[in-house]
């Protein structure tokens, strides 16, 4: 799962992908912008069959590869 998230993020940033660590704050550090965020949510929903609710849209769930992986884990385990 983490590999899929990591690959998506590295393939879709406009910045230097090799500088992204699993703990890098991808929005705060400018690796992803607003369209990048919307597209990322689409990718996660499609790839992992999860539904993102308004309450899910918080930093803790999306700020880094680690955070996204943990969020998807929580969502898929809850289903």
């Amino acid at each position: 799962m983490k590999e899929a998230v990591r690959t998506y993020i590295k393939e879709n940033t406009f910045k230097e992908a090799n500088k992204i660590e699993d703990s890098t704050l991808i929005f705060q550090e400018g690796f992803f912008d607003s369209m990048g965020f919307v597209m990322l949510i689409d990718f996660l929903e499609e790839h992992f069959q999860v539904k993102t609710s308004d309450e899910d849209l918080v930093e803790e769930n999306f700020e880094s590869i680690d955070a996204i992986t943990a969020y998807i884990n929580r969502k898929t385990n809850a289903n």
């Binding site: 929005f27 705060q28 607003s34 965020f37 919307v38 597209m39 849209l57």
Partner: protein
Amino acid sequence: MKTGFHKDILHIQNIDEVVESIVTKLKTDTHNQLKRYGGVVGISGGIDSSCTLALAAKAFGPQRVFSIMLPEKDSSSDSEKLARKLAEKFEVEAIVENISGALTGFGCYERRDQAVRHVFPEYDPASYKMKIGIKSAPQSKLPPVFSVIIIDPDGKEKSAKLSAKDYMQIVAASNFKQRTRMSMLYYHAERLHYAVIGTPNKHEVEQGFFVKYGDGGADIMPIGHLYKTQVYQLSEYLGVPQEIIDRTPTTDTYTAEQTQEEFFYQFPFKTMDLLWYGYENEYHPENVAEVMGYSKEEILDIFSNFKRKQETTAYLRMAPIKW
């Protein structure tokens, strides 16, 4: 970092000199650089285009300004009424060019409605209204996500988060409106050997609240350096009709009523102006926080959102890349 931030920092003290300098620059740049005799202004009945028209009339004389109302089937009927009043006040010739036919030809409405129906199959543009919403707090460290809101004939609202594909289709289709207006403005400008006088203010330019080659397509932007509260101050000084000054700025793009604050800025204009000024002029976040009634952390988050907005929208301000 600077200190000494205060709430009146954007109030123009020497307004007569400021207006005179804008008017002189508008006239000389249009003549000497653009080499055009006058100006064409698209007027919507909103504060920005009204202020621009008033400045153009002062710069070129009313006989060398041509104003155009460009309504389409989703426009508010108030817009045309107020725009007419404005043109009369400044004795500028005004015509109406309804762009609904051109937009239908482009498939603007159908392409937009197709994306809305993808989310809400019951959406019927003949009886429903729609708008785009933003789901995010201005202090959030995450970028916003977008939703579509539909209002049924009984006034009942439904909202759903938009996928990137549907969001981009709605925006791209709606942008035909601004780009069609730009084409019509240039038709008249070329016919008259005039320049197109753009109406975006500083926030629209710097935060990217304009359509590239749409309302961003112009030859000169006389209020592009002015904050919204300054546009209001100039409008009052220039004698823009009070009804226009008192009107809440709307997007006038989607069928449901929507203020610019709700759609894009997420702050009242006075607050937005001051926060942006503090950000742009590198005032100390603690100083801005104290004056504006926020915590230092909130100001830092707001400033990083501003920075992100500038970076995200840089593409809109870019000229074509040439080698």
